[in-house]
């Protein structure tokens, strides 16, 4: 197991109310794709980002452990945790138009990640960045490298975002609704890309989504969250063909 979440509880700092994430446990094996599904507001993003120390202000981890290759990320001091971010675990955000800084080119932002984690000469980094863009299925890598985020189509932007996530050579990618901002035909292509990357790089992926069709195509296992609690988890085949929980059935009925 490369990534294990154990009894994770996240709550709002100053009130004793119901936790946003309550006693959640699941794990991801090396090269495995695990889907985290649930309705909007069910705590998917919170669960995924807690380990990286990226919770919004005012949210705290009340208890639990998040293990990455055996290290408890919640116990690592912030300065060292930074070396995990991007380098061991990278995040692909839902809307790359917002996740990229509008003031800088795609190239500059991939370069920044390379510089932070590997240093090296500028020319070397550029070659690497172009290779990353190509690996993510972008043919006109040079042009994309020089473009500002708003100048690209949604599909290209999403691929560039994935290229940026790969720049730190992470072992785990957290993909937070990676396809909900692009149209259906492009979605299929991005899914293919994830599958290919998993195969070639032995990447593990935590796929956050509420699209069960996506889960069926891509994921090995699925974790179903509802109001911060796990209602069901297991192999995709099992859970989606014979959902035991009403909530899962509702999700399936709603999304397909």
């Amino acid at each position: 197991m490369i990534y294990q979440v154990e009894n994770l509880t996240v709550r709002v700092n100053d009130n004793g109310g119901k936790p946003l994430v309550n006693n959640v446990s699941f794990s991801i094996g090396s090269g495995e794709i695990v889907a985290l599904v649930g309705a909007s507001g069910s705590g998917k993003t919170t669960t995924a980002l807690a380990g990286l120390g990226l919770l919004a202000d005012g949210l705290i981890v009340a208890s639990g452990r998040v293990l990455f290759e055996g290290d408890d990320l919640l116990k690592i001091p912030p300065v060292q945790l930074r070396r995990f971010r991007g380098r061991r675990i990278a995040v692909v955000f839902q809307e790359p138009l917002y996740a990229f800084d509008p003031l800088f080119t795609i190239g500059a932002q991939i370069d920044e990640v390379l510089e932070v984690h590997f240093g090296a000469h500028a020319a070397e980094r550029k070659d690497k960045a172009l290779a990353l863009l190509k690996r993510c299925g972008i043919e006109e890598a040079e042009r994309v490298y020089r473009s500002y985020p708003h100048q690209l189509s949604g599909g290209l932007r999403q691929r560039a975002m994935i290229a940026q996530a790969l720049a730190g050579e992470p072992k785990l990618i957290i993909a937070d609704e990676p396809t909900s901002s692009i149209d259906v035909t492009l979605q299929a292509k991005v899914l293919e890309l994830f599958q290919q990357l998993r195969k070639e790089l032995n990447l593990s992926i935590l796929l956050i989504t509420h699209d069960l069709g996506l889960v069926r195509h891509l994921a090995d296992r699925v974790v179903v969250l509802r109001q911060g609690e796990i209602v069901e988890q297991g192999r995709v085949g099992h859970v989606l063909t014979a959902p035991r929980h009403v909530y899962t059935q509702q999700l399936m009925a709603a999304g397909g």
């Binding site: 930074r82 995040v91 917002y98 996740a99 920044e112 990640v113 932070v116 708003h150 940026q164 730190g168």
Partner: protein, 361 residues
């Protein structure tokens, strides 16, 4: 492929250039700065060249016709001084002494950048005569030359002061806004302490701390430092406000998730987004520095004679008699006025152009 960014910039530039007043002001400022930079060449005299015989001499008249009305190349007469019954100096042109105005003449020596030595000056008259296009001061120094040299101090103090206080303001505001919480609280209380004290008293208090035996360069630097010391707080507060909202943007979270350091995020992904505001604020705050320097120099706490700044040139005009008999010594004030006005007009125009939100209000 559309290029919103460039076109946004081009639109801004375009509407800036369409603003007649702003463009004129830009040119005026350009001329003033050029005058200060090339003062050595443009000024007929060095800033300390004095001739007591020309004390409070009125602006020299340049003639193109001699007594008989014949056209000549431009020339000036020598001046003789006498005293009227009120002991007031009366200057009269001495028709016997004629000095043609010459161009590219050898005048007072200067050393650009402290390296080479040169005497080349744009215009001047033979050393026996004097030309004072804007009149002379109490010690018979050329006001025009001293205004050009004074511009070096008055015009650069604004830029330097703004550069320093903006660096501090951006950094403090950025850190306070980005981290929020306790850090923010402490930094903002510090800012408020600076903002609480009326600026001019703080200026005087800080100036009194500066040792009296400082040479003029040290005084100049300490004035810049003092002015920046006062100016950074207001800016820091506004930048902080902008950063508080900027840090909620998703690209900040994304940069964090990629392992970029906090300082890296502040410098690369937060502060650059305050650029429009910063440009406007820079333009609008430069006049404050220029005025503060003038005020200090005016009351004798700034740049000291024989060095010139527009403020200490004006300090000659503190007596009613001087103003009455030698009104031209008020001209440095005109330069201050024009400069301050130009910065304000440009700043206002930039605000209209760069910040659509403010315009709609």
């Amino acid at each position: 492929m559309k290029d919103y960014h460039k076109s946004e910039f081009q639109i801004a530039l375009g509407s800036f250039l369409r603003n007649r007043a702003a463009v004129v002001c830009l040119w005026v400022l350009g001329l003033l700065y050029a005058g200060a930079i090339f003062a050595d060449f443009l000024a007929p005299y060095s800033y300390q060249n004095e001739d007591r015989d020309y004390s409070y001499c009125e602006p020299t008249r340049v003639h193109v016709r001699d007594e008989e009305g014949r056209w000549q190349r431009p020339f000036v007469y020598g001046m003789t001084v006498s005293f009227d019954q009120y002991h007031k100096r009366v200057y009269q042109e001495d028709r016997a002494r004629k000095y043609p105005v010459e161009f590219f003449v050898q005048g007072d020596e200067y050393r650009p950048l402290g390296l080479l030595s040169s005497k080349l000056r744009l215009f001047g008259v033979a050393p026996e005569g004097r030309i004072h296009v804007l009149g002379a001061d109490s010690r018979g120094r050329d006001l025009f030359s001293r205004i050009l040299y004074g511009g070096r101090i008055s015009l650069s103090i604004g830029l330097l002061g703004v550069a320093i206080s903006f660096s501090i303001g951006l950094l403090v505001g950025g850190i306070a806004g980005y981290y929020g919480g306790r850090v923010d609280n402490i930094l903002m209380r510090v800012c408020e302490m600076f903002m609480m004290v009326p600026g001019f008293y703080l200026l005087l208090a800080l100036r009194s701390v500066v040792p009296a035996n400082f040479n003029s360069m040290q005084v100049y630097i300490s004035i810049v430092v003092i002015l920046s010391f006062i100016g950074w707080a207001g800016l820091a507060r506004i930048i902080r406000g902008m950063c508080l909202s900027l840090r909620e943007r998703e690209f900040v979270l994304a940069a964090k998730s990629m392992g970029v350091s906090d300082l890296g995020i502040i410098v690369k992904h937060v502060l650059p987004h305050t650029i429009s505001y910063s440009i406007i604020a820079v333009m609008l705050s430069i006049p404050g520095y220029i005025l503060a320097e003038s005020a200090l120099s005016l009351i004798g706490l700034g740049i000291q004679d024989p060095y010139a700044s527009w403020g200490n040139l004006l300090s000659e005009a503190m007596g009613i008699l001087q103003i009455q008999f030698a009104p031209w010594i008020l001209i440095p004030g005109l330069f201050i006025l024009v400069t301050v006005m130009c910065f304000n007009v440009i700043g206002d125009c930039l605000r209209d152009v760069l910040d659509p939100k403010i315009k709609k209000l």
